[in-house]
Subunit: 256 residues, 2 copies
């Protein structure tokens, strides 16, 4: 049995807690929550503290708190044994300033408090200072997910930027689409199948090949007609992303 302590009480901490609770090999012996917030969402049988000096001895300490708070909190972990990992995509391993061994356990997924998620399909990007620790972290990761990857701090930073484009920005594209629909009394639901097909497609075809639409076809008549109808920042985004698509396939022709 691997004993872990969970530090934090946000979305990541909560979903990690639920995932660990489903395994037979990982035992959450304690939680730390500074403001004892979201307590109602966590299993009552796990002891919780808001006093860092009362942390129990564990094999691994998972820090799932906001990026900016990681360094400060980790400094307060003065013990030397065990492995301390954070769960952030954008912070390097050496953000951790504890005495114990350090690692990173980054789940690549978007978590919402009220949306259940199957951890088995969440890719986990792992990093440790020491090889032996990597084996332990990978062993833990494999209890809750089918997808584990070794990713160093620099790669993870780039991966986080890539995730912003792939996830946050594509969601904003959905939002801009939903706004156009709302403004013209069109049910946004009409676009759902298109959105889902477009996302599923990339498992079979790389996005470079999956691209369709007026910019890909260099259909300037349609592009101009669309730009004319848009206003404000939507117009700017339409123009810039269209230009980026045109550039992407322009250089293809030049190279090809």
């Amino acid at each position: 049995m691997i004993n872990v302590v969970l530090i934090g009480s946000g979305n990541v901490a909560l979903h990690l807690c639920k995932a660990f609770e489903k395994t037979t090999k990982i035992n959450i012996i304690q939680r730390f929550s500074r403001r004892l917030s979201n307590n109602a969402y966590f299993p009552v049988h796990i002891p919780v503290t808001n006093d860092i000096s009362t942390l129990k001895k564990a094999d691994v300490y998972f820090i799932a708190i906001s990026d900016q708070a990681i360094a400060k909190l980790s400094k307060q972990l003065t013990f030397k044994s065990g492995l301390v990992v954070h769960t952030s995509g954008s912070m390097p391993l050496h953000t951790l300033e504890c005495n114990a061994n350090k690692g990173v356990f980054y789940p690549l997924q978007t978590f919402s408090l009220h949306k259940e998620i199957d951890f088995k399909n969440i890719p986990l990007a792992l990093e440790t200072e020491h090889k032996a620790d990597y084996k332990l972290l990978e062993h833990i990761a494999k209890q809750i997910s089918n997808y584990t990857y070794a990713v160093n701090s620099e790669q993870r930073n780039k991966l986080h930027i890539a995730a912003v484009f792939a996830n946050n920005f594509s969601n904003h594209m959905y939002y801009l689409a939903s706004k156009i629909c709302k403004d013209h009394h069109i049910d946004f639901e009409i676009l759902h199948p298109l959105i889902i097909e477009s996302a599923n497609k990339i498992s079979q075809i790389p996005p470079f090949e999956a691209q369709t639409g007026p910019a890909k076809r260099k259909d300037t008549l349609v592009i101009e007609n669309h730009i004319e109808q848009l206003e404000g920042i939507s117009k700017e985004i339409y123009t810039l992303v269209t230009q980026s698509i045109l550039n992407t396939y322009q250089s293809e022709e030049e190279n090809g």
Copy 2:
């Protein structure tokens, strides 16, 4: 039995052909293909012509050709009976310059030549000049799809713009993400579950509420760190879309 003639031989024509072939109530009596291209992909038992004057008498003529070619081709349809429909998202109904009754049959989906698609889940946006024609078109639509919507020409134009954001632009976001991964030797596959979850989410939560990430959190440290690492048009897109997300939730606070 409803007799139809299919004009065109691109992706839309091909997928429409396959969908009609699966029904018992719709009979494709003839195809028209100017260059007789893609012939190998179509069922051999359907007669094909490249001479517009030899078109057979049918209940409905489906024009599935490029936007710019619709007006010119429709002018050559001199018969007065039957219903002529185009399948374009961005062209108004009156692009059709034929003598027969006019309509639009717009499948909201992205079609690839080599990717099979289940037409049952494709929303069909329908429009006709006359009510009786609408009933016929809706009857046909319901043979191949579970989702039919009445959408007029102005709404369809807006819907097409919305689809560019929701589908074409989100795919380009995937592409930019895949490029970052490739440049840093990261397997783009790591991002697949995130992309699929992000798309599936909007069936349950509107994109406004589903938004996550540094811009949503107003996490300026992470945003600046990301912008610093990007170059060229990716940097411009990151900056502009981030600004748009900031604006979106800024006005929420002001209004709320």
